[in-house]
Symmetry: none
Subunit: 213 residues, 2 copies
DNA sequence: TAATCTTGTATCTAAAATGTATCTAAAAGA
DNA sequence: TCTTTTAGATACATTTTAGATACAAGATTA
C-alpha cells in the first residue's frame, strides 16, 4: 500500500484530501506546516508527497529540495492564479501540480498517474520508455520522438484501456481548450508510424482513440 | 581503504555503526565525546566523519567547524524530531544526515554516496577532474575552466543520466530563480567546445540538457 | 590604473517541431 | 450502392528553439 504525505496548512483541505485518498487505499501522513513537513520527509519513507507551495513561514521550494534529495515524487497543490509558481514548480522538478479548488476524482487520478509514471522504465510489448531520459526504444532500437509526441505517448499509456476523446487529449497534452483542427489526429498518426502502434492505438470512430493494454 | 571517524557518545550505537561499516571494508576510529572527537579531527586524516550533533558538554556544530577546516566530509547523526538541527546542519555544510534509528543498509548507502561525491578525482571517458584543485584534464592536457563553467560541469556530472531543465540548472548553478535568458545555453556551448563534450551533453529539445553516462 | 579575464546580452542563423491545407481512403447510414 | 462524414497521409509553411558569434559590462589581477 502506498504512503502519502500531505503538507498543507489549511486543515480542512488537508482533511478532505486525506479522506479521498484513504478511500482509494492510500495511507496518509499530515504535516500542517513546513517545519513538520521537513521533519516527515527526512524521517520517513513516502511514495508520494502532496505539497502546498504557499506555506506560512516556509518556502515550499525548500521542501521540494528535500523531497528531491530523498527522490520522492511530488505533486504541487497551488491556488488559482499562482500560475508562475506552477510553472516554476514543474520546471524545478515537481512531477505534477493541481489547482485549488479541485475535484477529488482529479486528485486521485493524478496521484495514481504520478505513482505509475515514477517508475523509471515503462515496459510495453515491444516498447520501452525511459522516463528519466525521455528515450523510447522499439525492440531495443531508439526511436527519436519530438516533445509533443513523447507527451502524447505518455498520456495515452497512462490512460491505456480507456477511450480518450480528442478534446481530452488536447486538454491534457496541449493544454488547449477547444479546437476544430486535426492536430490530434496528425500526431496520433505520427506516433503510430514511428513506433509501429497501428494496432495498439485504435481509432474509435467519431469519438476518439484507445490505447490498448 | 577509507578511514571513518565516528563521534557518538552512545557506545552501543557507535559499536553497531562500526560493525556495519567494517563489514563493508571501512576502517573505523571512535570518539565517545566531543573533546576526543576534536583531537582526532585535528590529529588524523579521515575520509569521512559521522557526527552525532547532540553530544553532552559539547556542541556538535563546533566539531563541524573543525571538520570543515580540514575539509573532511561530514554526515550528521540525529535523533528523531531534531529537525531544526538537521536543517541547520545541512545549511552549515554537513554533506548528509541520517536519522536515528536507521537501517544499517541506509547508513552504508549514504556513506558510499558521500564518499563518491567527495572523491578527489572524477574520471570520465577522456576527462579527469580534480575536485581539490578544480583542475580539468582532457586526455591529460589541462583545460582551464572559469568558475561557472566548472560548477556547471560538476552539476551536470553529478546528475548524469537525468534530464535537467534550464530552470533546474539555473537554480543550482546560478542560484537564480527564474530567467528568460540564454545564459545556460551559452555556458553549455562553452563547456561542449572546451571539453569536446558535443556528444556527451545532449540537448533535449524544448526541455533542457542531459549528461550521458 | 591598465590589462586581462569572466560573464552574460544581443543578434543572426540553422535546425527542429508543429500545425494547416489538401487530397485520398475508409466507415456509416440511407 | 451511393452519399456523406470522418480519419489517414503527405507536403509544406510557419513558428519555435538552440547554436554561434560578437561584444559590452563587470570583476579580477598585475
Amino acid at each position: 500500500m502506498s504512503k502519502i504525505l500531505i503538507v498543507e496548512d489549511e486543515k480542512s483541505i488537508a482533511d478532505l484530501i486525506a479522506m479521498g485518498l484513504k478511500a482509494n487505499g492510500y495511507e496518509i501522513d499530515f504535516a500542517l506546516d513546513g517545519g513538520v513537513g521537513a521533519d516527515c520527509i527526512m524521517d520517513h519513507h513516502y511514495d508520494l508527497i502532496l505539497l502546498d507551495i504557499m506555506l506560512p513561514n516556509y518556502d515550499g521550494y525548500e521542501l521540494l529540495e528535500y523531497a528531491r534529495r530523498e527522490s520522492f515524487p511530488v505533486i504541487f497543490i497551488t491556488a488559482k492564479g499562482e500560475v508562475k509558481d506552477k510553472v516554476k514548480g514543474l520546471n524545478m522538478g515537481a512531477d505534477d501540480y493541481i489547482v485549488k479548488p479541485f475535484e477529488m476524482e482529479e486528485l486521485v487520478a493524478r496521484v495514481n498517474s504520478v505513482l505509475r509514471r515514477y517508475k523509471a522504465v515503462i515496459n510495453l510489448p515491444n516498447i520501452k520508455i525511459n522516463t528519466k531520459t525521455r528515450q523510447v526504444f522499439v525492440q531495443d532500437k531508439e526511436i527519436k520522438l519530438t516533445p509533443k509526441e513523447y507527451d502524447l505517448l505518455i498520456y495515452l499509456e497512462e490512460n491505456g484501456g480507456t477511450i480518450l476523446t480528442r478534446e481530452q487529449i488536447l486538454f491534457h497534452v496541449w493544454d488547449a481548450d477547444f479546437d476544430e483542427t486535426r492536430t490530434v489526429d496528425l500526431h496520433i498518426g505520427r506516433l503510430r508510424q514511428k513506433l509501429g502502434l497501428e494496432d495498439v492505438i485504435k481509432t474509435i470512430y467519431k469519438i476518439g482513440y484507445l490505447f490498448e493494454v
